[in-house]
Assembly symmetry: C2
Homo-oligomer: 472 residues x 2
């Protein structure tokens, strides 16, 4: 299948929705009926009697059948693809050369992406605040260079996904336009403070549109910074940019807003595609989530933990699973937004140079998360520099580079030796979460004992108690 | 279920096997008929007419039923557990207090774990050499301290798993007794040289018994060091020590030896449990495997790649999938066993201190693998130190901390900026494999261009060509 850029953000169920109630959210356009199509394609579409918005069936030369609403083409787009929004919610571009037959099989309304008004037939809708930080979900392709640039405003985000208007009353603004690899502890603080302001202002949920690269670090940071949350805070991103047929921007946003508005949870989460089926958006717990694929839409995974909530894009139903906290607007939010970036994550590997631990300490580290092998091990050559660090009041915590599972430093002599030197095992906490929590703990005290205590005390579902089942 | 130490290594299907052909591999013992059992348990077992080797049914007070062959107890074992080898191949210890009823339901032979003689009814068996490096697979519990210590000799390994004798003619010896977190490039060289010696001496396959913590680093190292392999080399470990009822030592060894002896592959692999079903042992490609769980038996996963071979513990059948190389004893092995440990793996994260890149270079790094976020990104604060490193002839390669997927540094401005500075993306290569390959490349040349060329040229299935399907 030849996938090419289509003009609009893809979003789920538009087709079904405008079949059910075509007047509700789409206005007629006074432009040409085959907007953007030219040449051969225009000729074929006109021959079939198609208009933008028509439900089209394209049969390919090898017998594949594609059905969907005909989309307008972007002025920048190439002129070889017929662009359809399919029933499954995704856009697809079909190369003209592949098309054997083009038929009109139904009429839809022309999609027109303006900011929807809240319909009066609804009850009062939940209020969801949307804060845009940047990243793919808030980006578009620069057609001169082919590069993806942050561009869309938060208002654009809601205007291109009209479904959102039926889910919640949305206010949106831009806090940053930053690729997520450039975010720092200073950004985390500002995002936490802004989120607190919105919640205290009455939001029923907050959505943060964010680049996916470091979304899980930010979600951990907000999990520690925003305690006793009365409502959920969902970070939403997109793995494919909004002008690609396979974009997940609209579906993630739809699911994220629905969960923020209605789910019976009150934690920080990351809302992204659940799996390859394109049916569910899940909210992963902010402290237990990890980006596990460079490009797949279902790249985010809950590690050692169930997810918080799941939204069904087909039925609009939400299941909530938050064992830690449930929605309660009377709960008083507690804001602890400070982070000290003098924490380091150091990964061990064979022939690791132990002098690097000394270098990290010399560079000003106030604490180190060591990502060991297996149950929490490093080579015996590391014992001395670890010992030196601990004696200089630089606490050292152990997580595992296996990602899944739990460190256990009582099984092998290496683990016990390291505990004797002063290394503190962090159970089944993710390395990324451990690093963020250490930055947060360091901002609160200079006492090594207090830091250790904070790291071992569960704050936001970041560790699971060891069970007998696991121990056996 | 109360799980306690049993005397012997657990191994699969002994029960079925000695039912089918009891004389084949088990000799009678002239010791007491309830060896090792004392007190209350001895009393109950005698009352039931049980002997070591009898097929016993124990019904627990809550109605659970356990059936299996009665095992002798170790002189170190506690005296409260009845120890059975169950039909599913695992050993289990049932606390006497839980037992409501004990019955003898059949007679088996007493299992006696001596080194098996090769039966003359077989054709000439394949020759498999077993080299022991250390780790859990070659360890036992110190009953004074509860600690797991490397102890068993390589001969012990074969003697406690009599099945091996029907699969291959095995010669075994110890090269190291080292926990795998302590292995270095010097060990890799010696292991590679030893493996080459055994293959040149006529082995039809080589098994390396190794700690699981860094098994995947060693497998990558051997993949580069041993080229044009005529026969397979399988690294085998155990996630649970051999005196635990849930040990995977025997089943991994059985599967590993079977694959080494018979599979139509000629690559370096890691042979471990495939999944939780306890039915299959898979050989993962040495350059594409990663330990992904601290303790589960199926902790090892093939990443971005299919596995090499699969052994069915129930049927003894082997499926081979090695697309790169097939067994050919006439192929001349090429040995390139050298590694330069002056390579570093540096993980990026939010608020990462860019000065750490300078420190790594100052500490003598001759090359760096940067483990970036997403498609291969780091913050713009890292550009300058990266630029300085590259200008000092320290090449920098990019992999992704997502583990799955492929870096792509053409999508976002950050990626393109980094490529402009000189960062080299490594496609879908694992970070661990990239580090090991860089250590190997550095040992061969001082030329930065040559190092770059070596890193980009596939040697042992470590990268997959980008396909159109992935690009869409």
């Amino acid at each position: 299948m030849t996938a090419r850029t289509c003009q609009s953000v893809s979003h789920k169920h538009t087709l079904n929705q405008f079949r059910r109630n075509p007047q509700r959210r789409y206005e007629s356009l006074s432009r040409t009926e085959l907007e953007g199509y030219q040449g051969q394609i225009l000729h074929h579409l006109q021959g079939a009697g198609a208009k933008v918005g028509s439900i089209i069936r394209v049969t390919s030369k090898d017998g594949e059948v594609f059905e969907g609403a005909l989309f307008p083409r972007s002025e920048y787009a190439d002129q070889n693809h017929i662009c359809l929004k399919m029933k499954n919610g995704y856009n697809i571009g079909i190369h003209l050369e592949r098309a054997e037959k083009i038929e009109v099989i139904g009429e839809g309304e022309k999609p027109h992406f303006t900011k929807p008004k809240v319909t009066t037939i609804h009850e009062v809708l939940p209020k969801v605040s949307l804060v845009s930080i940047g990243g793919t979900i808030a980006s578009r392709v620069d057609y001169r260079t082919g590069a993806v640039q942050p561009a869309l405003t938060a208002e654009d985000l809601t205007s291109v996904v009209p479904e959102l208007g039926s889910i919640a009353e949305i206010d949106a603004h831009i806090l940053y336009s930053e690729l997520s690899e450039n975010l720092t502890t200073a950004h985390w603080q500002k995002i936490a403070e802004e989120t607190a302001r919105l919640i205290r202002g009455g939001a029923d949920g907050v959505i943060i549109a964010h680049g996916t690269d470091t979304m899980h670090y930010t979600s951990a940071a907000l999990s520690f910074a925003l305690q006793d949350l009365p409502v959920p805070v969902l970070i939403v991103g997109a793995q494919r940019s909004s002008d690609r047929p396979s974009s997940d921007a609209a579906s993630n946003l739809t699911g994220g807003v629905a969960i923020a508005a209605r789910a019976d949870i009150a934690s920080v989460g990351v809302a992204m595609h659940s799996d390859m089926s394109d049916r569910f958006i899940v909210a992963h717990r902010g402290t237990r989530v990890r980006k596990c694929h460079t490009s797949r839409r279902d790249a985010f995974r809950s590690i050692n933990s169930p997810f918080l909530a799941r939204y069904d894009l087909q039925t609009n139903q939400i299941e909530s699973f938050d064992a830690v906290s449930r929605r309660d607007k009377n709960r008083q939010l507690s804001l602890k937004p400070h982070f000290d970036h003098h924490a380091n994550l150091v990964r061990f590997y064979p022939s690791f140079d132990p002098a690097l631990i000394d270098s990290v300490v010399a560079n000003g580290a106030r604490g180190i998360v060591l990502e060991g092998t297996g149950l929490g091990h490093v080579s015996r050559q590391c014992y001395e520099p670890i010992n030196r660090a601990v004696k200089q009041d630089v606490p050292i915590f152990m997580t595992s580079q296996t990602i899944w599972g739990r460190v256990d430093m009582n099984v092998y002599s290496t683990g016990r030796d390291l505990v004797d030197i002063g290394v503190v095992p962090l159970e089944d906490m993710l390395s990324e979460t451990a690093l963020v929590k250490l930055m947060w703990a360091l901002s609160q005290t200079k006492s090594r004992d207090k830091i250790r205590e904070t790291m071992l005390h569960p704050v936001a579902g970041e560790v699971t108690e060891r069970t007998l089942a696991e121990a056996s």
